[in-house]
């Protein structure tokens, strides 16, 4: 049996998406800028996909700028706003953002920008008042993510948007983990990043929503595609794949029930902590810490039995650092290292007991190997 519980890292492409993308590869393979019929065909697919996506988002199709995914969208939002507002040299973001926001902000720091990082509470939630306090006259932008990739916490982005609107600063949200999963009113959001491969579309495609009237400059210059905001031949198969993925219905209620069943099961294991918020949590995230063992070991033991989870965030695990997100929520040291993340898809439904049973078995095995035991008795 294979149970894939790493949908926040990436998803399997939906079969209907794969079929459609393949069709485009083979039939509508033209360059959307070419004037002949093959190009026109690709162009019409692109126009259609843009309209479908705009409809789903609830915006104007002119407000969608296709990119290569979440990382590029975050870069375009932050780095694209800067040159249009040269006298604004201050950025507010949060300590739990994805590296594609944190590192971009750090990069801006090298160019004379001052960055303020708003902290989070023990559930990983940003305090809106704290954000408001950090906003200054020279604040260019506030960037706070919609849903956290590690612990699944849903941020109060609509309220943050309201504050930004009131203060007259731009607001960007990295919605890579929230888009299509958690409803979001774009009323007070100027920029929103989305990535296809987190929602059943191929890797290497995504978009930045840019509210009409928000002036940004491109970070990729060239042929002037995407209204001059993102040069490069359009990834028509990927874009059509993204539009198609939005048509696929996901049984969120069922997955949420599975999530709750798994969490309830895990809570029965000794020395366990569920990280994040139970109330403001995306429906498919489980982030759990076990006392006295190390996450990578647990992940690899589960791997042997066909259960695929991740430790902390996929990219941080290779850098051998403990999770900055778990640190930010104040998790204890011996718990920080023993965390795994499960981001569920439909294949988990019906297998919850199996998953919990395997985790318990592996945790016990690793605890036998670990020198940290005694403290457990006092739990």
């Amino acid at each position: 049996m294979r149970i894939y519980l790493d949908n926040a890292a990436t998803t399997k492409v939906y079969p209907e998406v794969a079929k459609k993308v393949n069709e485009i590869f083979l039939k509508s393979y033209g360059n959307a800028s070419s004037l002949h019929s093959v190009g026109r065909e690709a162009r019409s697919e692109l126009v259609k996909a843009r309209e479908e996506i705009a409809k789903f988002v609830g915006c104007d199709s002119k407000e969608i700028v296709f990119t290569s995914g979440g990382t590029e969208s975050n870069n375009l939002a932050i780095r694209g706003l800067a040159p249009m507002n040269p006298d604004k040299k201050h950025i507010v973001t949060s300590v739990v953002e994805h590296p594609s926001v944190l590192e971009t902000c750090k990069y801006m720091g090298k160019w004379g920008y001052e960055i303020d990082y708003v902290g989070v509470d023990s559930e990983g939630i940003v305090d809106v008042k704290e954000v408001e306090k950090l906003i200054r006259d020279d604040t260019l932008l506030v960037s706070v993510m919609h849903v956290n990739n590690e612990i699944g916490t849903v941020q109060p982005v609509e309220e943050i948007g309201k504050v930004c609107k009131k203060k007259g600063v731009y607001f960007h949200t990295d919605a890579v983990q929230g888009f299509s999963k958690v409803d979001l009113d774009l009323g007070n959001i100027d920029l929103m990043s989305v990535s296809g491969h987190k929602i059943g579309a191929p890797k290497g495609v995504g978009f930045l929503y840019v509210k009409n009237g928000t002036k940004i400059s491109p970070i990729l210059n060239g042929g002037g595609q995407e209204n001059g905001l993102r040069s490069g031949t359009e990834n028509v198969p990927g874009i059509v794949g993204l539009a198609t993925a939005l048509d696929v219905s996901v049984d969120k209620k069922k997955i949420k029930k599975s999530r709750d069943k798994i969490i309830a099961g895990l809570k029965k294991i000794k020395g366990v902590k569920i990280n994040g918020s139970m109330k403001n949590r995306v429906y498919n995230n489980v982030n759990v810490s076990f006392y006295g063992i190390e996450g990578e070991s647990l992940m690899l033991m589960l791997d042997k039995d066909g259960i695929y989870v991740s430790t902390g965030s996929a990219c941080a695990s290779t850098k051998l650092k403990e999770s900055y997100v778990l640190k930010a929520i104040g998790a204890e040291e011996l718990y920080v290292h023993g965390s795994i993340r499960m981001t569920l898809g439909e294949d988990v439904v019906g297998n919850e007991d199996f998953v919990v049973g395997k985790i318990e078995e592996k945790v016990n095995k690793l605890r036998k190997i670990s020198p940290f035991k005694l403290e457990l008795e006092n739990e």
């Binding site: 006295g292 063992i293 190390e294 990578e296 070991s297 690899l300 033991m301 042997k304 996929a314 695990s317 290779t318 850098k319 051998l320 403990e322 040291e333 011996l334 920080v336 290292h337 036998k368 190997i369 670990s370 020198p371 940290f372």
Partner: protein, 123 residues
């Protein structure tokens, strides 16, 4: 790419089926290295008989490479003369495991360090 894709068969074997795992109640020498905040702690316990290491056990809190290195290290020292065990370095442990991904080399250092500390602790 995750670093763990580079683990050898020997690493997986020693990780899944660790040898000499556990405690020696009346150990003659104990060595503990690492730090819980770094995510790794290794404890090595030795029992000696004359000039020989008659038994060795380990407990490890750490990644797969740390557990595999600990296990492999114990197989390298069990039954050896103390003077021979003193010469065992992290290179020997890593070599016995085939190879470790570069960022995982420090895990094998810990195993050798804990061993040497335990030898130093012998009366």
């Amino acid at each position: 790419m995750g670093s763990n894709c580079d683990y050898t068969k020997a690493v997986f074997d020693h990780f899944q089926n660790p040898r000499n795992m556990g405690e020696i109640e009346d150990a003659d020498g104990v060595g503990t290295v690492g730090n819980p905040s770094c995510g790794d702690v290794l404890k090595v316990m030795l029992k000696v008989d004359g000039d020989k290491i008659s038994d060795v056990k380990f407990q490890t809190f750490g990644c797969a490479a740390a557990i595999a290195s600990s296990s492999m290290m114990t197989t390298l020292v069990k039954g050896k003369k103390i003077s021979e065990a003193k010469k065992i370095t992290n290179k020997d442990v890593a070599a016995a495991l085939g190879q470790l991904p570069p960022i995982k080399v420090h895990c094998s250092n810990l195993a050798a360090d804990a061993l040497q500390k335990a030898i130093g602790d012998l009366k």
